[in-house]
């Protein structure tokens, strides 16, 4: 026989976890990802800079991981942004790599920390080649 009080207590705990996560999310996200980038990350150089094979590899990774939202040609799909933009053009390689690693979760951009850092830099090489 299920103890109703205990069931209510457990369900309350689960709901509390969900609500606290949502509140914490709201407190952290501000959407202005570029101002959050630490100087150290902003100034990092792309280790694949100038390597054509990195652009090709980055294009492949982009198709596999990013094109579903940003389109095969990176011009954006639905309400997802085009990456042929002034913001991407102006961003340093370090800022773009930081964005790929951390995402901009409030704006729907997931973290790509599951990709190794080298692969994120290869994607940055591709993004910079678009500009």
């Amino acid at each position: 026989m299920i103890d109703t009080k205990k069931l209510i207590l457990l369900l309350s705990l689960i709901v509390s976890l969900m609500i606290s996560s949502a509140l914490l999310f709201g407190a952290v996200g501000d959407g202005l990802w570029m101002i959050k980038v630490p100087d150290k990350a902003r100034n990092r150089q792309n280790p694949f800079d100038g390597e054509p094979t990195a652009v090709a590899a980055g294009a492949k990774l982009f198709r596999q991981n990013c094109a579903s939202c940003h389109g095969d040609d990176a011009t954006g799909l639905s309400n997802r942004p085009s990456l042929h933009s002034e913001r991407v053009r102006a961003a340093s390689p370090g800022e773009l790599e930081w964005l790929l690693k951390n995402g901009s979760m409030k704006n729907g951009m997931p973290s790509w920390s599951r990709l190794p850092e080298q692969q994120r830099w290869q994607i940055v090489s591709y993004l910079k080649s678009l500009q």
């Binding site: 590899a57 094109a67 579903s68 920390s113 599951r114 692969q119």
Partner: protein, 288 residues
């Protein structure tokens, strides 16, 4: 119509979606351990995780969990499982469902990234999916004949801690589970580590590039319950894992698992296939 047939009918409903060119890639490398990697928002992952066991004192079995995982938000992933099993010389039975949610409270990458996990499961005592090991779970639970008489309506909470460092992923899960029929809290753990074979992607389109393979290992087991916390009378497993992420295709994973003590199965073989459907809702609405 039996519950099993209804489940199959629902799954067949997704078949047309699987035939479309979906350009998808699932991300899991482990069978038991969770990482902080969430499902991308709008993506639906369809997966099956199976485990085969060959207990000497009982009949061989094949437990299976069919999983639907949806990225609700970048910080919120929801999953639904349907469990079933087949035991040699006995029967094939549907054993219940699980519904789980994972929340990532910190929205940037840190050295250690916590994820909160909450699950409700309504399974019965014949379940052999072995998606986690808690309390005093052990091989004895698998030796009796298939018996669905005991209902297990359980709440499970996990604290997931996960880190990425120089291409390695290291994940630790602390598990607390309670049968809401009044049984004590049971505890368990899972830790895992994995790494892709290559950290740099090849410039060529290649199916069997080294970066598409990941190798790792999992260690998991029970930690007793509220009244008998510890390693006494618990089971533990160590398992190498291998995952192959086929570009624009499914992910295949396999894990031959060794039991570490006499309460454990001597050997288990896990196998999984997952496929991710990008922007599932947009496809349903015809926006893609």
């Amino acid at each position: 119509m039996s519950r099993s047939l209804k489940a199959i009918a629902v799954l067949l409903g997704f078949a047309p979606l699987l035939l479309a060119p979906l350009n998808a890639r699932a991300q899991e490398n482990y069978f038991v351990t969770y990482t902080h990697h969430m499902e991308e928002p709008g993506n639906l992952e369809f997966a099956t995780k199976s485990v085969s066991g060959f207990p000497q004192a009982g009949n061989a079995f094949w437990g299976n969990a069919i999983e639907l995982e949806y990225g609700v938000k970048t910080w919120w992933t929801s999953e639904f499982y349907l469990d079933s099993q087949t035991t040699a010389n006995e029967s094939s039975v549907f054993t219940g469902f699980r519904f789980e949610n994972r929340f990532r409270p910190l929205l940037q990458e840190h050295w250690i990234n916590p994820v909160l996990y909450a699950e409700f499961e309504d399974i019965n005592s014949a379940d052999k999916a072995l998606l986690e090991v808690v309390g005093h779970d052990g091989i004895e639970d698998f030796l009796g004949r298939n018996d669905r008489s005991e209902k297990k309506r359980e709440v499970e909470l996990k604290l997931i801690l996960s880190s990425n460092f120089k291409g390695w992923n290291v994940a630790e899960n602390m598990i607390a589970e309670k049968n809401i029929a009044g049984e004590p809290w049971e505890f368990g753990y899972a830790v895992a580590v994995s790494r892709p074979l290559s950290l740099v992607a090849s410039a060529n389109e290649c199916r069997f590039c080294r970066e598409n393979f990941a190798l790792g290992a999992e260690l998991y087991g029970g930690l007793g319950d509220r009244y008998s916390f510890g390693l006494h009378d618990t089971s533990h497993y160590l398992a190498p894992t291998m995952a192959f992420h086929m570009p624009s295709g499914p992910t295949f994973s396999v894990s031959p698992t060794a039991g570490l003590n006499s309460n454990s199965h001597g050997f288990l073989l896990r196998f999984g296939v997952s496929y991710e459907i990008n922007q599932f809702v947009s496809r349903l609405k015809g926006k893609r």
